[in-house]
Amino acid sequence: MRRAERHRLRGRLRRATSGNVTVLICTAFVVMLAALAVGVSLLPLADPTSQSALVRLKPPSIDHVLGTDRLGRDILSRVLWGARVSLSVGVGVVIVSGGLGTVLGVVSGYSRGWPSEIVLRLTDIFLAFPPLILAMVTVTVLGNNLFTVVLAISVGVVPRFARVTRGTILSIREREYVEAARALGASAARIIWSHVLLNAVDPLIVLCTLLIPGAIVTEALLSFLGLGIAEPTPTWGNMIQGGQIVMREAPWLTFFPAAAIVFTVLAFNLLGDAIRDALDPTVREGGAAPIPSVDATLPTPAPRHVAPPPTRMRDPSAVA
Protein backbone atom coordinates (compact mmCIF):
# COMPACT_ATOMS: atom_id res chain seq x y z
CA MET A 1 0.00 0.00 0.00
CA ARG A 2 2.79 2.35 0.95
CA ARG A 3 4.52 1.66 -2.33
CA ALA A 4 1.33 2.41 -4.24
CA GLU A 5 1.14 5.73 -2.42
CA ARG A 6 4.66 6.61 -3.43
CA HIS A 7 3.88 5.77 -7.01
CA ARG A 8 0.86 8.00 -6.95
CA LEU A 9 2.92 10.88 -5.58
CA ARG A 10 5.65 10.39 -8.12
CA GLY A 11 3.13 10.00 -10.90
CA ARG A 12 1.32 13.18 -10.02
CA LEU A 13 4.57 15.08 -9.73
CA ARG A 14 5.73 13.79 -13.08
CA ARG A 15 2.45 14.52 -14.81
CA ALA A 16 2.34 18.05 -13.53
CA THR A 17 5.94 18.90 -14.17
CA SER A 18 6.82 17.06 -17.36
CA GLY A 19 6.97 19.32 -20.38
CA ASN A 20 7.17 22.35 -18.12
CA VAL A 21 10.18 24.27 -19.40
CA THR A 22 10.69 26.24 -16.19
CA VAL A 23 10.77 23.07 -14.11
CA LEU A 24 13.20 21.43 -16.53
CA ILE A 25 15.57 24.38 -16.46
CA CYS A 26 15.41 24.71 -12.68
CA THR A 27 15.92 21.00 -12.12
CA ALA A 28 18.86 20.99 -14.50
CA PHE A 29 20.35 24.00 -12.73
CA VAL A 30 19.96 22.52 -9.26
CA VAL A 31 21.31 19.13 -10.32
CA MET A 32 24.27 20.75 -12.05
CA LEU A 33 25.03 22.96 -9.07
CA ALA A 34 24.80 20.02 -6.69
CA ALA A 35 27.09 17.93 -8.91
CA LEU A 36 29.62 20.77 -9.12
CA ALA A 37 29.45 21.33 -5.37
CA VAL A 38 30.05 17.65 -4.66
CA GLY A 39 32.76 17.19 -7.27
CA VAL A 40 34.49 20.56 -7.02
CA SER A 41 37.63 19.04 -5.51
CA LEU A 42 38.01 16.86 -8.62
CA LEU A 43 37.83 19.79 -11.04
CA PRO A 44 41.04 21.32 -12.41
CA LEU A 45 40.52 24.53 -10.49
CA ALA A 46 42.81 26.64 -8.34
CA ASP A 47 42.70 26.05 -4.60
CA PRO A 48 39.98 28.41 -3.27
CA THR A 49 42.27 29.59 -0.49
CA SER A 50 45.60 29.83 -2.31
CA GLN A 51 46.66 33.48 -2.43
CA SER A 52 48.85 35.20 -4.97
CA ALA A 53 49.99 38.80 -4.85
CA LEU A 54 50.65 38.68 -8.60
CA VAL A 55 47.05 38.21 -9.67
CA ARG A 56 45.19 40.46 -7.24
CA LEU A 57 41.85 41.90 -8.43
CA LYS A 58 42.20 40.62 -12.00
CA PRO A 59 39.06 40.87 -14.15
CA PRO A 60 37.66 37.70 -15.72
CA SER A 61 40.16 36.17 -18.16
CA ILE A 62 41.05 32.78 -19.61
CA ASP A 63 43.26 31.92 -16.64
CA HIS A 64 40.64 33.04 -14.12
CA VAL A 65 37.24 32.73 -15.75
CA LEU A 66 35.45 34.81 -13.12
CA GLY A 67 38.46 36.90 -12.12
CA THR A 68 40.34 37.02 -8.83
CA ASP A 69 39.75 38.72 -5.49
CA ARG A 70 41.84 41.04 -3.34
CA LEU A 71 44.13 38.23 -2.25
CA GLY A 72 44.48 36.83 -5.76
CA ARG A 73 42.17 33.88 -5.12
CA ASP A 74 40.25 32.37 -8.02
CA ILE A 75 36.60 33.46 -7.84
CA LEU A 76 35.17 30.59 -9.91
CA SER A 77 36.71 28.11 -7.53
CA ARG A 78 35.46 30.07 -4.52
CA VAL A 79 31.92 30.35 -5.93
CA LEU A 80 31.78 26.57 -6.42
CA TRP A 81 33.19 25.83 -2.97
CA GLY A 82 30.67 28.34 -1.66
CA ALA A 83 27.91 26.36 -3.37
CA ARG A 84 28.96 23.40 -1.27
CA VAL A 85 28.42 25.40 1.93
CA SER A 86 25.11 26.87 0.74
CA LEU A 87 23.62 23.57 -0.41
CA SER A 88 24.81 21.75 2.72
CA VAL A 89 23.16 24.38 4.90
CA GLY A 90 19.97 24.14 2.82
CA VAL A 91 19.80 20.37 3.14
CA GLY A 92 20.88 20.47 6.80
CA VAL A 93 18.13 22.91 7.72
CA VAL A 94 15.54 20.78 5.93
CA ILE A 95 16.66 17.69 7.86
CA VAL A 96 16.85 19.38 11.27
CA SER A 97 13.84 21.71 10.98
CA GLY A 98 11.72 19.36 8.89
CA GLY A 99 12.33 16.47 11.28
CA LEU A 100 11.92 18.34 14.53
CA GLY A 101 9.15 20.56 13.18
CA THR A 102 7.14 17.57 11.98
CA VAL A 103 7.47 15.79 15.32
CA LEU A 104 6.43 18.90 17.26
CA GLY A 105 3.63 19.65 14.79
CA VAL A 106 2.26 16.12 15.10
CA VAL A 107 2.47 16.25 18.91
CA SER A 108 0.65 19.58 19.11
CA GLY A 109 -1.78 18.77 16.34
CA TYR A 110 -2.77 15.23 17.18
CA SER A 111 -2.67 15.10 20.97
CA ARG A 112 -5.09 17.04 23.09
CA GLY A 113 -4.18 18.42 26.49
CA TRP A 114 -0.82 19.27 28.00
CA PRO A 115 1.65 18.01 25.34
CA SER A 116 -0.08 20.17 22.78
CA GLU A 117 -0.19 23.14 25.17
CA ILE A 118 3.52 22.88 25.99
CA VAL A 119 4.54 22.76 22.34
CA LEU A 120 2.26 25.68 21.52
CA ARG A 121 3.60 27.88 24.31
CA LEU A 122 7.21 27.00 23.41
CA THR A 123 6.70 27.82 19.74
CA ASP A 124 4.98 31.06 20.78
CA ILE A 125 8.08 32.06 22.73
CA PHE A 126 10.44 31.35 19.85
CA LEU A 127 8.14 33.06 17.36
CA ALA A 128 8.40 36.26 19.38
CA PHE A 129 12.02 36.71 18.26
CA PRO A 130 13.00 38.03 14.85
CA PRO A 131 14.49 34.86 13.27
CA LEU A 132 17.62 36.65 12.11
CA ILE A 133 18.44 38.05 15.55
CA LEU A 134 17.85 34.61 17.07
CA ALA A 135 20.22 33.11 14.51
CA MET A 136 22.83 35.81 15.15
CA VAL A 137 22.82 35.22 18.90
CA THR A 138 22.71 31.42 18.54
CA VAL A 139 25.81 31.48 16.33
CA THR A 140 27.50 33.67 18.92
CA VAL A 141 26.62 31.17 21.64
CA LEU A 142 27.51 28.00 19.75
CA GLY A 143 30.40 29.21 17.60
CA ASN A 144 30.45 29.34 13.83
CA ASN A 145 30.86 26.17 11.82
CA LEU A 146 28.62 24.45 9.30
CA PHE A 147 26.68 22.51 11.91
CA THR A 148 26.10 25.41 14.29
CA VAL A 149 24.98 27.63 11.41
CA VAL A 150 22.42 24.96 10.47
CA LEU A 151 21.25 24.82 14.09
CA ALA A 152 21.12 28.62 14.38
CA ILE A 153 18.92 28.92 11.29
CA SER A 154 16.75 26.03 12.45
CA VAL A 155 16.04 27.69 15.80
CA GLY A 156 13.91 30.21 13.94
CA VAL A 157 12.47 27.75 11.42
CA VAL A 158 11.36 24.88 13.67
CA PRO A 159 8.53 26.76 15.43
CA ARG A 160 7.18 28.00 12.08
CA PHE A 161 7.40 24.56 10.54
CA ALA A 162 5.71 23.06 13.62
CA ARG A 163 2.88 25.58 13.37
CA VAL A 164 2.14 24.85 9.73
CA THR A 165 2.36 21.10 10.33
CA ARG A 166 -0.01 21.45 13.26
CA GLY A 167 -2.55 23.26 11.09
CA THR A 168 -2.42 20.48 8.54
CA ILE A 169 -2.63 17.73 11.16
CA LEU A 170 -5.57 19.42 12.89
CA SER A 171 -7.59 19.41 9.71
CA ILE A 172 -6.75 15.77 8.99
CA ARG A 173 -7.39 14.56 12.53
CA GLU A 174 -11.11 15.21 12.23
CA ARG A 175 -11.53 13.34 8.95
CA GLU A 176 -13.94 10.42 8.86
CA TYR A 177 -11.34 7.88 7.83
CA VAL A 178 -9.24 8.75 10.88
CA GLU A 179 -12.30 8.31 13.03
CA ALA A 180 -13.00 5.02 11.29
CA ALA A 181 -9.48 3.80 11.98
CA ARG A 182 -9.89 4.78 15.61
CA ALA A 183 -13.22 2.98 15.80
CA LEU A 184 -11.58 -0.12 14.35
CA GLY A 185 -9.17 -0.05 17.26
CA ALA A 186 -6.00 1.08 15.47
CA SER A 187 -3.27 2.25 17.82
CA ALA A 188 -2.43 5.95 18.03
CA ALA A 189 0.99 5.29 16.49
CA ARG A 190 -0.59 3.48 13.56
CA ILE A 191 -3.17 6.20 13.01
CA ILE A 192 -0.55 8.92 13.13
CA TRP A 193 1.88 7.09 10.88
CA SER A 194 -0.27 5.59 8.18
CA HIS A 195 -3.36 7.80 8.19
CA VAL A 196 -2.51 11.26 9.42
CA LEU A 197 1.12 11.70 8.36
CA LEU A 198 0.69 9.99 5.04
CA ASN A 199 -1.99 12.49 4.14
CA ALA A 200 0.13 15.38 5.35
CA VAL A 201 3.03 14.44 3.08
CA ASP A 202 2.07 16.84 0.28
CA PRO A 203 2.12 20.09 2.23
CA LEU A 204 5.22 18.96 4.12
CA ILE A 205 7.12 18.29 0.89
CA VAL A 206 6.20 21.74 -0.38
CA LEU A 207 7.26 23.33 2.90
CA CYS A 208 10.60 21.54 2.83
CA THR A 209 11.32 22.63 -0.74
CA LEU A 210 10.60 26.21 0.20
CA LEU A 211 12.81 25.96 3.29
CA ILE A 212 15.94 25.49 1.18
CA PRO A 213 16.03 28.95 -0.45
CA GLY A 214 15.24 30.59 2.89
CA ALA A 215 18.05 28.73 4.59
CA ILE A 216 20.51 29.60 1.81
CA VAL A 217 19.65 33.30 2.09
CA THR A 218 19.97 33.29 5.87
CA GLU A 219 23.33 31.51 5.72
CA ALA A 220 24.58 34.07 3.20
CA LEU A 221 23.29 36.84 5.46
CA LEU A 222 25.10 35.49 8.50
CA SER A 223 28.35 35.19 6.53
CA PHE A 224 27.80 38.65 5.10
CA LEU A 225 27.43 40.08 8.60
CA GLY A 226 30.63 38.30 9.59
CA LEU A 227 28.86 35.89 11.94
CA GLY A 228 28.58 32.80 9.75
CA ILE A 229 31.24 30.49 8.43
CA ALA A 230 34.38 32.60 8.48
CA GLU A 231 37.20 33.25 6.04
CA PRO A 232 39.20 31.63 4.55
CA THR A 233 36.38 29.11 3.89
CA PRO A 234 34.55 30.67 0.94
CA THR A 235 30.82 31.27 1.27
CA TRP A 236 28.72 33.44 -1.02
CA GLY A 237 27.95 35.78 1.85
CA ASN A 238 31.50 36.44 2.96
CA MET A 239 32.61 36.80 -0.68
CA ILE A 240 30.08 39.60 -1.17
CA GLN A 241 31.16 41.22 2.06
CA GLY A 242 34.78 41.09 0.95
CA GLY A 243 33.92 42.50 -2.47
CA GLN A 244 31.87 45.38 -1.14
CA ILE A 245 34.95 47.49 -0.34
CA VAL A 246 36.27 47.39 -3.91
CA MET A 247 32.87 47.32 -5.59
CA ARG A 248 33.63 50.20 -7.92
CA GLU A 249 37.06 49.03 -9.09
CA ALA A 250 36.30 45.31 -9.17
CA PRO A 251 32.55 44.67 -9.35
CA TRP A 252 33.06 41.01 -10.33
CA LEU A 253 34.03 40.22 -6.74
CA THR A 254 30.48 41.06 -5.68
CA PHE A 255 28.63 40.25 -8.85
CA PHE A 256 29.37 36.53 -9.26
CA PRO A 257 28.56 35.33 -5.73
CA ALA A 258 25.46 37.57 -5.75
CA ALA A 259 24.35 36.04 -9.05
CA ALA A 260 24.98 32.57 -7.61
CA ILE A 261 22.70 33.32 -4.65
CA VAL A 262 19.97 34.87 -6.78
CA PHE A 263 19.87 32.09 -9.38
CA THR A 264 20.02 29.30 -6.81
CA VAL A 265 17.30 30.81 -4.65
CA LEU A 266 15.19 31.56 -7.72
CA ALA A 267 15.56 27.98 -8.97
CA PHE A 268 14.50 26.52 -5.62
CA ASN A 269 11.59 28.95 -5.33
CA LEU A 270 10.37 28.07 -8.83
CA LEU A 271 10.72 24.36 -8.13
CA GLY A 272 8.86 24.72 -4.85
CA ASP A 273 6.08 26.55 -6.65
CA ALA A 274 5.88 23.91 -9.35
CA ILE A 275 5.73 21.10 -6.81
CA ARG A 276 3.03 22.91 -4.88
CA ASP A 277 0.99 23.48 -8.01
CA ALA A 278 1.41 19.83 -8.89
CA LEU A 279 0.28 18.62 -5.49
CA ASP A 280 -2.42 21.15 -4.74
CA PRO A 281 -5.06 21.47 -7.44
CA THR A 282 -6.82 24.32 -5.66
CA VAL A 283 -3.86 26.53 -6.43
CA ARG A 284 -3.86 25.53 -10.05
CA GLU A 285 -7.45 26.63 -10.31
CA GLY A 286 -6.37 29.95 -8.86
CA GLY A 287 -9.04 29.87 -6.19
CA ALA A 288 -7.49 29.40 -2.79
CA ALA A 289 -4.76 31.22 -0.97
CA PRO A 290 -1.28 29.80 -1.60
CA ILE A 291 -0.70 26.92 0.77
CA PRO A 292 1.65 26.67 2.48
CA SER A 293 2.42 30.32 2.36
CA VAL A 294 5.76 31.41 1.03
CA ASP A 295 7.86 33.76 2.98
CA ALA A 296 11.06 34.89 1.44
CA THR A 297 13.06 33.89 4.46
CA LEU A 298 10.95 31.44 6.34
CA PRO A 299 7.60 29.76 6.03
CA THR A 300 4.91 31.88 7.61
CA PRO A 301 2.78 30.24 10.27
CA ALA A 302 -0.83 29.78 9.28
CA PRO A 303 -2.76 32.86 10.43
CA ARG A 304 -4.42 32.05 13.69
CA HIS A 305 -7.93 33.16 12.82
CA VAL A 306 -8.11 31.87 9.31
CA ALA A 307 -9.62 28.48 8.69
CA PRO A 308 -7.02 25.72 8.30
CA PRO A 309 -5.55 25.49 4.82
CA PRO A 310 -7.69 23.66 2.30
CA THR A 311 -5.25 20.82 2.07
CA ARG A 312 -6.20 18.40 -0.57
CA MET A 313 -7.00 15.08 1.02
CA ARG A 314 -6.36 11.89 -0.74
CA ASP A 315 -9.04 9.40 -1.29
CA PRO A 316 -9.19 7.63 2.07
CA SER A 317 -10.00 4.34 0.41
CA ALA A 318 -6.58 4.40 -1.19
CA VAL A 319 -4.96 4.54 2.22
CA ALA A 320 -6.95 2.30 4.48
Partner: protein, 309 residues
Amino acid sequence: MRRVGGRLLQLVPTTVGALVLVFFLMRVLPGDPAGAMLGTSATPQAIADLRAQLGLDKPLYEQFVDYVVGLGHLDFGRSMAVRTPVGTLLYQAALPTLLLTLSGTLVSVVVGVPLGVVAALRRGTWVDYGASIGALLGLSIPVFVWGVLLLLAFTLQWPVLPSAGAGDTPVNVVRSLILPSIATGFFQVGLIARITRSSLLSVLNNDYVRTARAKGVGPSAVVLGHALRNALIPVITVIGLNAGTLLGGAVVAETVFTRPGLGRLILDAIFARDYPVIQGVMIVSVVLVVMLNLMTDLLYTAADPRVRA
Protein backbone atom coordinates in the same frame (compact mmCIF):
# COMPACT_ATOMS: atom_id res chain seq x y z
CA MET B 1 -13.24 44.27 23.52
CA ARG B 2 -13.13 40.95 25.34
CA ARG B 3 -11.09 39.57 22.44
CA VAL B 4 -8.53 42.32 22.87
CA GLY B 5 -8.26 41.57 26.59
CA GLY B 6 -7.90 37.87 25.83
CA ARG B 7 -5.14 38.52 23.34
CA LEU B 8 -3.32 40.74 25.81
CA LEU B 9 -3.51 38.01 28.45
CA GLN B 10 -2.18 35.48 25.94
CA LEU B 11 0.83 37.72 25.35
CA VAL B 12 1.91 37.62 28.98
CA PRO B 13 3.28 34.04 29.10
CA THR B 14 4.89 34.46 25.67
CA THR B 15 6.71 37.63 26.65
CA VAL B 16 7.73 36.28 30.05
CA GLY B 17 8.98 33.07 28.43
CA ALA B 18 10.95 35.06 25.88
CA LEU B 19 12.54 37.18 28.62
CA VAL B 20 13.55 34.04 30.54
CA LEU B 21 15.02 32.61 27.34
CA VAL B 22 17.03 35.80 26.79
CA PHE B 23 18.40 35.60 30.35
CA PHE B 24 19.61 32.05 29.89
CA LEU B 25 21.00 32.67 26.40
CA MET B 26 23.08 35.48 27.84
CA ARG B 27 24.37 33.22 30.61
CA VAL B 28 25.53 30.52 28.17
CA LEU B 29 27.37 32.97 25.93
CA PRO B 30 31.00 31.91 25.76
CA GLY B 31 33.59 34.01 27.46
CA ASP B 32 33.54 35.98 30.67
CA PRO B 33 32.05 39.48 30.34
CA ALA B 34 34.35 40.84 33.03
CA GLY B 35 37.39 39.39 31.32
CA ALA B 36 36.19 40.74 27.97
CA MET B 37 35.75 44.22 29.45
CA LEU B 38 39.15 44.47 31.07
CA GLY B 39 41.15 42.91 28.27
CA THR B 40 43.94 40.34 28.40
CA SER B 41 46.27 42.30 30.64
CA ALA B 42 43.84 42.44 33.59
CA THR B 43 44.87 40.88 36.90
CA PRO B 44 42.69 38.08 38.29
CA GLN B 45 41.88 40.37 41.24
CA ALA B 46 40.58 43.13 38.94
CA ILE B 47 38.42 40.61 37.08
CA ALA B 48 37.03 39.24 40.35
CA ASP B 49 36.25 42.76 41.55
CA LEU B 50 34.44 43.60 38.36
CA ARG B 51 32.51 40.32 38.48
CA ALA B 52 31.36 41.23 41.97
CA GLN B 53 30.46 44.74 40.82
CA LEU B 54 28.41 43.34 37.91
CA GLY B 55 26.74 40.80 40.18
CA LEU B 56 28.15 37.90 38.19
CA ASP B 57 29.47 36.14 41.31
CA LYS B 58 25.97 35.72 42.71
CA PRO B 59 24.06 32.44 42.34
CA LEU B 60 22.02 32.15 39.15
CA TYR B 61 18.62 32.64 40.80
CA GLU B 62 19.78 35.87 42.45
CA GLN B 63 21.06 37.11 39.11
CA PHE B 64 17.66 36.26 37.65
CA VAL B 65 15.86 38.23 40.37
CA ASP B 66 18.17 41.21 39.71
CA TYR B 67 17.41 40.89 35.99
CA VAL B 68 13.65 40.85 36.53
CA VAL B 69 13.77 43.75 39.00
CA GLY B 70 15.94 45.70 36.56
CA LEU B 71 13.48 45.07 33.74
CA GLY B 72 10.65 46.23 36.00
CA HIS B 73 12.46 49.54 36.36
CA LEU B 74 13.28 49.58 32.64
CA ASP B 75 16.91 49.34 33.71
CA PHE B 76 18.86 47.32 31.15
CA GLY B 77 22.23 47.85 32.75
CA ARG B 78 25.21 49.68 31.36
CA SER B 79 27.05 49.00 28.11
CA MET B 80 30.46 47.47 28.70
CA ALA B 81 32.00 48.92 25.56
CA VAL B 82 30.83 52.52 25.63
CA ARG B 83 29.84 52.79 29.33
CA THR B 84 26.44 54.32 28.50
CA PRO B 85 23.17 53.06 30.00
CA VAL B 86 21.79 50.42 27.61
CA GLY B 87 18.37 52.05 27.88
CA THR B 88 19.69 55.23 26.27
CA LEU B 89 21.38 53.28 23.46
CA LEU B 90 18.19 51.30 22.80
CA TYR B 91 16.06 54.41 22.80
CA GLN B 92 18.37 56.10 20.28
CA ALA B 93 18.50 53.01 18.06
CA ALA B 94 14.86 51.94 18.13
CA LEU B 95 13.52 54.99 16.34
CA PRO B 96 15.58 54.75 13.12
CA THR B 97 14.92 51.01 12.96
CA LEU B 98 11.16 51.44 13.41
CA LEU B 99 11.18 54.19 10.79
CA LEU B 100 13.02 51.95 8.35
CA THR B 101 10.72 48.97 9.06
CA LEU B 102 7.64 51.09 8.46
CA SER B 103 8.93 52.77 5.31
CA GLY B 104 10.08 49.38 3.99
CA THR B 105 6.58 48.01 4.59
CA LEU B 106 5.14 51.05 2.83
CA VAL B 107 7.31 50.39 -0.23
CA SER B 108 6.29 46.73 -0.33
CA VAL B 109 2.57 47.55 -0.05
CA VAL B 110 2.63 50.42 -2.53
CA VAL B 111 4.34 48.25 -5.14
CA GLY B 112 3.06 44.81 -4.17
CA VAL B 113 -0.69 45.39 -3.90
CA PRO B 114 -1.19 47.02 -7.33
CA LEU B 115 1.05 44.37 -8.86
CA GLY B 116 -1.09 41.63 -7.29
CA VAL B 117 -4.34 43.30 -8.37
CA VAL B 118 -3.20 43.65 -11.97
CA ALA B 119 -2.00 40.05 -12.00
CA ALA B 120 -5.34 38.83 -10.66
CA LEU B 121 -7.45 40.87 -13.08
CA ARG B 122 -5.37 39.92 -16.10
CA ARG B 123 -5.00 36.32 -15.06
CA GLY B 124 -3.26 34.13 -17.61
CA THR B 125 -2.02 37.02 -19.74
CA TRP B 126 1.56 38.20 -20.10
CA VAL B 127 0.88 40.87 -17.48
CA ASP B 128 0.12 38.13 -14.97
CA TYR B 129 3.22 36.15 -15.90
CA GLY B 130 5.35 39.29 -15.86
CA ALA B 131 4.05 40.21 -12.41
CA SER B 132 4.62 36.66 -11.16
CA ILE B 133 8.16 36.55 -12.50
CA GLY B 134 8.90 39.99 -11.09
CA ALA B 135 7.47 38.96 -7.73
CA LEU B 136 9.52 35.76 -7.65
CA LEU B 137 12.66 37.57 -8.70
CA GLY B 138 12.15 40.10 -5.92
CA LEU B 139 11.64 37.23 -3.50
CA SER B 140 14.89 35.63 -4.62
CA ILE B 141 17.14 38.65 -4.21
CA PRO B 142 18.19 38.96 -0.56
CA VAL B 143 18.10 42.34 1.18
CA PHE B 144 21.87 42.69 1.26
CA VAL B 145 22.23 41.96 -2.45
CA TRP B 146 19.61 44.63 -3.19
CA GLY B 147 21.49 46.90 -0.84
CA VAL B 148 24.86 46.37 -2.48
CA LEU B 149 23.38 46.85 -5.97
CA LEU B 150 21.53 50.02 -4.95
CA LEU B 151 24.67 51.40 -3.33
CA LEU B 152 26.64 50.69 -6.48
CA ALA B 153 24.04 52.40 -8.67
CA PHE B 154 22.95 55.42 -6.65
CA THR B 155 25.94 56.34 -4.54
CA LEU B 156 28.92 55.28 -6.65
CA GLN B 157 27.77 55.36 -10.26
CA TRP B 158 25.30 58.25 -9.96
CA PRO B 159 25.97 59.82 -6.58
CA VAL B 160 22.50 61.24 -5.96
CA LEU B 161 21.71 59.75 -2.57
CA PRO B 162 23.69 59.45 0.66
CA SER B 163 25.43 56.11 1.17
CA ALA B 164 25.54 56.19 4.98
CA GLY B 165 23.92 57.67 8.06
CA ALA B 166 20.32 58.47 8.93
CA GLY B 167 20.32 62.20 8.15
CA ASP B 168 19.95 65.16 10.49
CA THR B 169 17.42 67.44 8.79
CA PRO B 170 13.96 66.17 7.75
CA VAL B 171 14.93 66.29 4.08
CA ASN B 172 18.08 64.30 4.72
CA VAL B 173 16.20 61.82 6.88
CA VAL B 174 13.90 61.08 3.95
CA ARG B 175 16.79 61.01 1.47
CA SER B 176 18.75 58.59 3.62
CA LEU B 177 15.65 56.39 4.00
CA ILE B 178 15.02 55.92 0.26
CA LEU B 179 17.63 53.27 -0.59
CA PRO B 180 17.33 51.21 2.63
CA SER B 181 13.51 51.21 2.32
CA ILE B 182 13.70 49.94 -1.24
CA ALA B 183 16.16 47.24 -0.20
CA THR B 184 14.02 46.02 2.71
CA GLY B 185 10.72 46.61 0.93
CA PHE B 186 11.44 44.93 -2.39
CA PHE B 187 12.15 41.69 -0.65
CA GLN B 188 8.53 41.65 0.51
CA VAL B 189 6.99 42.97 -2.71
CA GLY B 190 6.87 39.51 -4.21
CA LEU B 191 5.22 38.02 -1.15
CA ILE B 192 2.57 40.74 -0.94
CA ALA B 193 1.86 40.65 -4.68
CA ARG B 194 1.34 36.89 -4.57
CA ILE B 195 -0.95 36.98 -1.57
CA THR B 196 -2.95 39.88 -3.00
CA ARG B 197 -3.33 38.06 -6.29
CA SER B 198 -4.55 34.75 -4.87
CA SER B 199 -6.70 36.40 -2.21
CA LEU B 200 -8.37 38.72 -4.73
CA LEU B 201 -8.99 35.80 -7.07
CA SER B 202 -10.80 33.86 -4.36
CA VAL B 203 -12.80 36.90 -3.25
CA LEU B 204 -13.89 37.67 -6.82
CA ASN B 205 -15.70 34.32 -6.87
CA ASN B 206 -17.90 35.30 -3.93
CA ASP B 207 -21.63 35.82 -4.22
CA TYR B 208 -21.57 39.39 -2.97
CA VAL B 209 -19.21 40.36 -5.79
CA ARG B 210 -21.61 38.81 -8.30
CA THR B 211 -24.47 40.69 -6.62
CA ALA B 212 -22.58 43.95 -6.92
CA ARG B 213 -21.90 43.27 -10.58
CA ALA B 214 -25.54 42.35 -11.18
CA LYS B 215 -26.61 45.61 -9.57
CA GLY B 216 -24.65 47.38 -12.27
CA VAL B 217 -21.66 48.53 -10.22
CA GLY B 218 -18.80 49.40 -12.55
CA PRO B 219 -15.90 46.96 -12.88
CA SER B 220 -13.34 49.17 -11.14
CA ALA B 221 -15.75 49.98 -8.30
CA VAL B 222 -16.43 46.26 -7.81
CA VAL B 223 -12.74 45.49 -7.55
CA LEU B 224 -11.60 48.49 -5.54
CA GLY B 225 -14.70 49.10 -3.41
CA HIS B 226 -16.00 45.60 -2.81
CA ALA B 227 -13.47 42.88 -3.51
CA LEU B 228 -10.15 44.47 -2.59
CA ARG B 229 -11.31 45.47 0.88
CA ASN B 230 -11.83 41.85 1.80
CA ALA B 231 -8.92 40.60 -0.24
CA LEU B 232 -6.51 42.75 1.77
CA ILE B 233 -7.31 41.02 5.06
CA PRO B 234 -4.82 38.16 4.47
CA VAL B 235 -2.31 40.76 3.31
CA ILE B 236 -2.58 42.54 6.67
CA THR B 237 -2.11 39.22 8.45
CA VAL B 238 0.96 38.35 6.47
CA ILE B 239 2.56 41.74 7.03
CA GLY B 240 1.96 41.46 10.75
CA LEU B 241 3.17 37.90 11.03
CA ASN B 242 6.30 38.86 9.14
CA ALA B 243 7.06 41.69 11.54
CA GLY B 244 10.04 39.74 12.83
CA THR B 245 11.36 39.11 9.33
CA LEU B 246 10.87 42.77 8.44
CA LEU B 247 12.80 43.77 11.53
CA GLY B 248 15.53 41.35 10.44
CA GLY B 249 15.56 42.98 7.01
CA ALA B 250 16.01 46.37 8.65
CA VAL B 251 18.92 44.96 10.65
CA VAL B 252 20.64 43.87 7.44
CA ALA B 253 19.89 47.12 5.62
CA GLU B 254 21.40 49.04 8.52
CA THR B 255 24.63 47.13 8.09
CA VAL B 256 24.77 47.63 4.33
CA PHE B 257 23.88 51.32 4.46
CA THR B 258 25.81 52.07 7.68
CA ARG B 259 22.69 53.43 9.37
CA PRO B 260 22.33 53.72 13.13
CA GLY B 261 19.71 51.38 14.58
CA LEU B 262 19.06 48.18 16.50
CA GLY B 263 20.80 46.08 13.87
CA ARG B 264 24.06 47.97 14.02
CA LEU B 265 23.77 48.08 17.79
CA ILE B 266 23.44 44.30 18.23
CA LEU B 267 26.05 43.52 15.59
CA ASP B 268 28.62 45.83 17.17
CA ALA B 269 27.68 44.43 20.58
CA ILE B 270 28.17 40.85 19.38
CA PHE B 271 31.64 41.66 18.06
CA ALA B 272 32.54 43.55 21.25
CA ARG B 273 30.97 40.82 23.45
CA ASP B 274 28.93 43.62 25.02
CA TYR B 275 26.42 41.36 26.80
CA PRO B 276 24.06 43.94 28.34
CA VAL B 277 23.53 45.52 24.91
CA ILE B 278 22.89 42.17 23.19
CA GLN B 279 20.39 41.38 25.93
CA GLY B 280 18.73 44.77 25.60
CA VAL B 281 18.33 44.54 21.81
CA MET B 282 16.83 41.07 22.12
CA ILE B 283 14.32 42.28 24.70
CA VAL B 284 13.35 45.29 22.61
CA SER B 285 12.98 43.20 19.46
CA VAL B 286 10.74 40.71 21.29
CA VAL B 287 8.58 43.55 22.58
CA LEU B 288 8.41 45.10 19.10
CA VAL B 289 7.42 41.81 17.45
CA VAL B 290 4.79 41.06 20.09
CA MET B 291 3.35 44.57 19.80
CA LEU B 292 3.30 44.44 15.99
CA ASN B 293 1.56 41.06 16.13
CA LEU B 294 -1.00 42.47 18.53
CA MET B 295 -1.55 45.46 16.26
CA THR B 296 -2.11 43.08 13.35
CA ASP B 297 -4.66 41.18 15.38
CA LEU B 298 -6.53 44.34 16.24
CA LEU B 299 -6.41 45.60 12.66
CA TYR B 300 -7.64 42.22 11.57
CA THR B 301 -10.57 42.42 13.93
CA ALA B 302 -11.38 45.90 12.70
CA ALA B 303 -11.21 44.80 9.07
CA ASP B 304 -13.14 41.56 9.35
CA PRO B 305 -16.38 41.74 11.33
CA ARG B 306 -16.72 37.95 11.16
CA VAL B 307 -13.84 37.58 13.61
CA ARG B 308 -15.53 39.81 16.17
CA ALA B 309 -18.51 37.52 16.54
